[in-house]
């Protein structure tokens, strides 16, 4: 059938910053690329990033002395030593290039104003003379968990400006974008991926795309937390879910889920960390600035996991402000003044006005922590090549590349999308150059038939079964309340049982809409099982990890345990299995030895193995767990011992 089989060199599933940057690299190398996206690419969730993008440009006084090594240190500490240190090194080194490249694509970065500048730092008003020599260079603002001001920004619309600039490059290069399409399955033979089955969301039909290389760039999956997320409604995790469906590709560290301290109560709409970076406070119901006492050093700007836990504890202690939607705390931006709010934080001004009818220069803003970022995702090597399936790559929030470990620093994600988009895009292009199109149409049509059968089965089921939206809501309640900011064994067990039940319910759920064409209920139903399976991998991983690390906090195991848990969780879901299988690989070669993060608790269970011994087995162990060879040797980009000069 015409139109039902499309071929290309590179198939990119996802039109956010990561996918588009990757596509640019492949197209610039002369390959034909097709981008799929649920929405027109500029509406991808990257557009919602407000605050900034980390890169050690060191153009401001408060950024002086910053460099990739300091950025590396902050990133590894932020990750609570869960990051792959080589990947963190590559990332920190290339982030400045990515920011400058965006300037070249057209991003109007906020610039340094030489001369006197008025700032708020830890609640104090400060005047700083920025050097005239740096006037007009890209400016930086403060963000949580960093030693220096490092977040480059375009007012409070950084992601929007970045995405528009990158998408204009996609248009310039004439790259095909098929918006309103959804990859629903990967085509593979157990060792190589050769494309995807796609659902056309304009009319409900299916087609296949056969490609030399396939890239998953589908972003985060916060919607497995139901309404308790800052993520867009489209962040439903289908990319990670279809990778899990292969049975051979593992997801990494799914229990590592970030909660953002300040989302609007109750809608979950994000209020950027840039507010606290620019000097906003957190207050409890008594007007106490509790973070000053709890974290004297970094105060409101400790890392997100630490701030979210303090906030949650505050509310548990009855110090939150009661509302019909549960307790919240206050974010106080009043002292920043109207002019600052309407220029440097304009998007925050708009959001407060539009959604809670408040003026942040005069009123307090009701906030509470909700799910924000998925550190886990499709496990890949440093080239972005997925474990277990040659020709499948992943990039951006959908991947576990793994520079974030158990906690991502604010502003590090936008940089990751662009840095990894460049690097992985190059590897994807090399792969596409070195491999012929394997047009196994039998395999493709079997996958297509399978996808069509699934849709038909949903439509055929009748009677009085559970409703898909109720299942989704129940999943969200379970995830937020039992797999949330504070976790413990008993509640995690309950969560697993509840999710198991919801998976059964999903198999019996009945659609009420049988309309031909778009059928929004069917489109959602087709994603639901994948979402529940992702939720299950998060809960299982969280139960098994009997320690606290970064955003994963176990009240019953409150210490970080470097003796037993300096590892990355891998999870696969074998075909026909009723539950996922966990295994563990070493996080990567360790150069910066595990230590105190500089905020949060300083207590931990120390590593007993020597670093030499630990590092000896990394390659072998990761390979045993499915890692495919990278173009350059493992460890080749590490700058061993460089951190010593930065900590000295």
């Amino acid at each position: 059938m015409t139109g039902r089989l499309v071929t290309t060199d590179v198939l990119i599933i996802g039109g956010g910053l990561a996918g588009e940057r990757c596509a640019i690299e492949a197209a610039a190398a002369g390959h034909e690329a097709i981008i799929l996206s649920l929405v027109p690419p500029r509406r991808s969730h990257s557009c919602a990033a407000q605050g900034g993008m980390q890169a050690s440009l060191a153009n401001c006084v408060k950024a002086a002395g910053d460099n990739p090594t300091v950025h590396f240190l902050d990133t590894v500490r932020g990750s609570d030593w869960g990051a792959d240190q080589e990947v963190a090194t590559i990332f920190a080194e290339e982030a400045p290039i990515a920011v400058r490249e965006l300037a070249h694509f057209g991003v109007p970065w906020s610039r340094v104003r030489g001369g006197k500048n008025h700032y708020f730092i830890k609640g104090e008003e400060v005047d700083i003379d920025e050097s005239l020599e740096n006037d007009g260079l890209i400016g930086q603002r403060d963000f949580g968990g960093t030693a220096k001001w490092r977040a480059c920004y375009a007012a409070a619309g950084t992601g929007h400006a970045a995405l528009y600039a990158v998408d204009s490059e996609v248009v310039r290069l004439g790259i095909t974008v098929r918006d309103r399409t959804e990859a629903v399955a990967l085509i593979h033979d157990g060792s190589r991926c050769t494309g995807a089955v796609v659902r056309d969301l304009r009319n409900g039909s299916h087609f296949t795309v056969i490609a030399k290389a396939t890239v998953i760039a589908t972003g985060g999956y916060g919607r497995i937390y139901g309404q308790y997320t800052s993520n867009a409604t489209i962040n439903e995790g289908t990319g990670a879910a279809i990778a899990l469906d292969t049975g051979v590709v593992p997801l990494g560290n799914m229990e590592a889920v970030q909660f953002h301290p300040t989302t609007l109560s109750p809608s979950g709409i994000l209020v950027t960390e840039g507010c606290r970076g620019d000097g906003a406070y957190l207050l409890d119901k008594n007007g106490d600035r509790f973070m000053v006492e709890l974290e004297p050093e970094k105060q409101e700007l400790a890392s997100r996991d630490v701030v979210s836990r303090h906030m949650q504890q505050r509310m548990r202690d009855g110090l939150g402000i009661d509302s019909p939607y549960g307790p919240h705390l206050w974010l106080d931006c009043r002292h920043l003044g109207e002019e600052h709010m309407r220029t440097k934080l304009l998007e925050v001004w708009d959001i407060c006005r539009d959604f809670v009818g408040r003026n942040p220069a005069k009123d307090l803003i009701p906030v509470r922590p909700t799910q924000h970022y998925s550190m886990g995702g499709v496990r890949v090597n440093k080239d972005g090549q997925a474990y277990g399936l040659a020709g499948l790559f992943a990039v951006g929030e959908a991947s576990c590349w793994d520079m974030h470990g158990f906690n991502r620093l604010g502003g590090n994600s936008l940089s990751e999308t662009l840095v990894s988009g460049r690097i992985v895009g190059r590897r994807v292009a090399e792969y596409a150059s070195g491999h012929a199109l394997r047009a196994d149409t039998g395999l493709a049509f079997a996958a297509l038939a399978d996808a069509e059968r699934k849709a038909a089965n949903w439509l055929a089921r009748s009677g009085s079964g559970p409703n898909v939206y109720e299942i989704r809501d129940a999943m969200g309640e379970t995830m937020m309340h039992k797999v949330g900011i504070f976790r413990n064994g008993d509640e995690l067990q309950e969560a697993i049982a509840e999710l198991g039940q919801l998976l059964d319910d999903c198999d019996n759920a009945v659609l009420r809409c049988k309309d031909p064409g778009v059928n929004p209920e069917l489109a959602f139903a087709l994603r639901l099982k994948g979402m529940l399976r992702l939720a299950m991998t998060v809960a299982k991983g969280a139960l098994a990890r009997t320690e606290s690390r970064g955003a994963h906090y176990r009240s019953d195991y409150p210490l970080r345990n470097d003796k037993e848990w300096l590892s990355r969780t891998l999870v696969r879901w074998g075909a026909g299995d009723s539950e996922p299988t966990l295994s563990y690989e070493p996080t990567g070669i360790i150069d910066l030895p595990p230590g105190h993060r500089g905020y949060g608790s300083d207590e931990r269970i120390e590593m007993t193995e020597t670093l030499e011994k630990h590092n000896e087995d990394v390659l072998q162990e990761q390979t045993r767990h499915g890692r495919l060879a990278s173009t350059e040797d493992m460890g080749s980009r590490l700058r061993r011992g460089a951190w010593k000069s930065a900590t000295g």
Partner: protein, 252 residues
């Protein structure tokens, strides 16, 4: 409205048509709903779809007025549904899809194709002078210039201005507010190397700023409050200058 005891009962009249369904004809359906505090049209429409009519088509993504997915006609006026509070509307609410754009179904329209074509037509990207040099420090730009470009860059391509434009409704090649604003954004960017004469070709034709009949509904409906009037004035000024240049070019 914070008093739930006196919650209003809202009456929604919604345009319905599913082009993929042979039996479907354009019509409207009525739904009723109890209003809750801070209810937006996103919340209301989701409730209607999840509890009353699972076939109802509409688009939301960010639900925070950032992505531009959810524009529709709300009581006759284009608006972002996700940030429209029902409290600001009367009890009776009429929802129609945006005109000008191709209908996908019910309240859902194809804005993606329109905006991609506009970007291609106006070559809405930086026409650079030199290739990117990864080892070089960034070119300088004053913060004021950056802020001015950012102001033009804030458009979220929701299509409200296009839908409100008398001309765009009859001539689908007209660039309309979003298109003209996009051109101005690149025109004022010192990194873009296009000459005034090149800009003239983009802006001055039938699809450009002089075709605008000046009703200015676009500025009224823009959810980002972009100063479109100023934008058009800027374009006219620059283009007239360019025509002068173009003429004197020809003279030599």
């Amino acid at each position: 409205m914070s008093d739930t005891a006196t919650a209003r009962r809202l009456r929604f009249e919604i345009f319905r048509y599913n082009p993929e369904d042979e039996d479907s004809v354009p019509h409207t359906d009525v739904f009723e709903l109890e209003e809750t505090p801070f209810m937006t049209l996103y919340i209301a429409l989701s409730q209607i779809r999840e509890k009353q009519d699972p076939g109802l088509q509409f688009d939301f993504a960010c639900r925070s007025a950032i992505c531009g997915s959810c524009a529709m006609m709300v009581n006759g006026r284009p608006a972002l549904a996700c940030r429209t509070l029902t409290a600001d509307l009367p009890e009776s609410i009429q929802l129609y899809p945006l005109p000008t754009f191709k209908l996908i179904g019910d309240l859902s329209v194809d804005t993606g194709t329109w905006f991609r074509e506009m970007a291609e037509k106006t070559e809405a990207w930086i026409h650079e002078r030199l290739p990117f040099d990864p080892d070089a420090t960034e070119e300088r730009m004053s913060d004021d210039v950056a802020a001015a470009i950012y102001e033009g860059d804030r458009c979220i391509e929701c299509g409200c201005c296009v839908a409100s434009c008398g001309l765009a409704n009859v001539d689908d090649t007209f660039l309309a507010g979003a298109g003209l604003n996009r051109v101005a954004r690149f025109m004022m960017d010192p990194r873009d190397s296009r000459s005034d004469a090149e800009w003239f070709d983009i802006v001055a034709g039938d699809q450009g700023v002089f075709a605008c009949i000046g009703m200015m509904a676009c500025e009224d409906v823009c959810p980002k409050e972009l100063p479109l009037l100023e934008v058009y004035a800027y374009l006219r000024r620059r283009t007239l200058g360019a025509r002068f240049v173009a003429k004197s070019d020809r003279a030599v």
